[in-house]
């Protein structure tokens, strides 16, 4: 292979920017993906995640910055020179080739002696052996998805890129493939970079999630950490649900900040707030909020609201509560008690939460 770059190690994006004319799709991002990890790029459509992926693949060249694997600088090299393979959103199987020839395409181009054998092994890994002689048009979406995965995996790339690979599948198949993908990643031990707009998919599969918005990486970390302590309003709302309110920081109380929200003092741990004076958005996840009919004799952090809607979910009962600020909060009551609260729409309730669970983020996203 002329020009092929053998490269090993962590993937790094170094101040990478991509502009299309006036539009900056990816704006000066830094990324470090340890070798062998399952990394998710999560964000709404148009946030730059697919452009980032295409720059790693070499299908787009960055306007500025560098793409590195280990110590090898891949910036400017062509896709066929990179030890990187892509599973395309539309699968992009070669319609004129059989499934086996599709999978053997990469090894053949690299002049591997045992291309056919390796293709068969890869098809076995994704449990598609019995379809080897068929053409792509004869397979279902889920089957084509597996073939696309095998066609990329067979090359043992240093980095495997997955561009919304489960987007076209129905819900049940998605769940199956999520488990399957995770199993395969563990088995082959390659670096997987998974682009998705589905926060649940990102959280269940990835070791590390980077949340992207408007060409920036808003926050990066383990799924549980991102969920527990979002650092921007966008992350708080995009990753799971968040009950939020806007307040002004008036005081401190030991380790806590005290913000005033419509006359009610609300405490936030200093270490869990990104802002320490002026306006703040405080937030708390729905499952951390407790509902009761009477005012709890706690340490504040209690707000009165009116029940708007009740849904019985089996394991829990979900309430929507109208807050004095005009916002609607969501919370759950676990169905543990012998005598449930039996709230009805219109009932007045008190919501409370442990200050240690609240987080504070800036009012304005960039």
């Amino acid at each position: 292979m002329a020009g092929f770059r053998e490269a090993q190690g962590d993937l790094r994006l170094d101040s990478v920017t991509k502009a299309f004319g006036d539009f900056t799709a990816v704006d000066d991002i830094e990324l470090h993906v340890p070798r062998g990890s399952f990394f998710a790029l999560l964000g709404p459509s148009g946030c730059g995640k697919t452009t980032t992926l295409r720059m790693i693949a070499g299908l787009e060249q960055p306007t500025a910055g560098r793409v590195m694997i280990g110590d090898t600088d891949l910036t400017g090299s062509r896709p066929y020179e990179r030890p990187v393979n892509t599973v395309f959103q539309s699968y992009a199987l070669f319609p004129h080739l059989t499934i086996r020839d599709n999978v053997a395409f990469g090894p053949k181009r690299r002049k591997e002696q045992d291309a056919a054998k390796r293709a068969d092994d890869a098809l076995e890994l994704v449990q598609m052996t019995q379809f080897a002689a068929r053409k792509p048009a004869q397979l279902s979406g889920g089957q084509q998805q597996r073939v696309a995965l095998a066609r990329a995996l067979v090359n043992h790339p240093e980095v495997l890129l997955l561009d919304e690979p489960l987007g076209a599948l129905d819900l049940k198949l998605r769940r199956e493939m999520q488990v399957e993908l995770k199993r395969i990643q563990t088995e082959v031990g390659l670096t997987f970079i998974h682009v998705t707009h589905d926060q649940e998919e990102a959280m269940t599969m990835a070791d590390t999630v980077a949340v992207m918005n408007k060409g920036h990486i808003e926050q990066l970390g383990a799924p549980a950490a991102l969920y527990d302590l979002p650092k921007t309003r966008f992350v708080a709302n995009f990753l799971g649900q968040a009950n939020t309110g806007v307040g002004t920081i008036k005081d401190t109380d030991g380790d806590h900040l005290v913000a005033e929200v419509l006359g009610t003092p609300v405490k936030i741990l200093k270490s869990r707030s990104q802002v320490h004076d002026g306006e703040v958005v405080f937030g708390v996840r729905p499952e951390k909020v407790t509902v009761s009919r009477t005012q709890p004799d706690g340490v504040g952090n209690d707000v009165r609201g009116v029940v708007r809607d009740v849904s019985f979910l089996g394991v829990a009962t979900s309430y929507l509560v109208d807050m004095p600020s005009g916002a609607t909060w969501s919370c759950y009551e676990q169905n543990l008690d012998v005598e449930p609260l039996d709230l009805r729409p219109g009932d007045e309730v008190w919501l409370t939460w442990n200050p240690g669970h609240a987080f504070g983020v800036p009012v304005d996203d960039r």
Partner: protein, 306 residues
Amino acid sequence: MSGLAQASVAPAAAEVTAGGDDQRPTRRSWTAYLLLLPGALWLGVFFVLPLVQLATVSLQSRFPGFPGYYYRDVNFQNYVSALTDYGPHFLRSFVYAGLATFLAFVVAYPLAYAMAFKAGKWRNLMMICVVAPFFTSFILRTFAWSQILADEGWVAGILNFLHLLPSGHIINTPLAVVAGLTYNFLPFMVLPIYASLERADPRVIEAGGDLYADGFTTFRTVTLPMSMPGVLAGTLLTFIPAAGDFVNMELLGPQRGKMVGNVINDQFLAIPGGYPVAAALSFTLMAAILVMVFLYVRRFGTEELV
């Protein structure tokens, strides 16, 4: 050709409708046949009947002593004479048509490729340029070529200046005929290739690059095979009419060494009593083309993609 295609549609359509609705199978399948009726009638009156007529004419014999008169007969001598007297004409037709098809492919593929992938905002303008010649008559355009290729024209002038023309002429040579055929049938090559390239998913072509194929290898192993249905259609649409053409030979070609289309034309219109031989020539040409097309499609056809 179209007759075969039409015929194969009928049973398939009936099957689909019958399978789709078990409640009223008879009525549904009748609807399908009813819809086919105008087309079938048209084909019957203007294709099948004339074909049968031509077949009977091709077997008739001349009335001795009465030039231009025939009687009904089963006379295969017409076919023997078509093949023995006019073998070289058949050969020229197929060689010139084959060359024109090849040249049209060589010109059309890069053009279609550029239109599909590189043209951007110029795509529509290029499309108009490809189709624009159809707004002028075929004969007129071929006359224009006789001007362009004339001895006094600039093409012959430049080639003569460079001493690239041993005979000193382009006009009235087989080269002019092949050039005319290539030009006249070029759009029929460009459009199907363009359509198949334009329809190709760009991600599939990117996947070639992603899987270690460089630009040329991706073209050879992905883009070209994916456009084969268009190439197949284009070559057929060029070769078949070119093999039967006589206008280009008439207006651009030499006096001697004509193509089979000219012979058929002469036998029908110029030579008294030439009808049976002309009909036999037509049938032989049709059979030869059908056999060639059949072999060609079997060799290169990709049924999943056509």
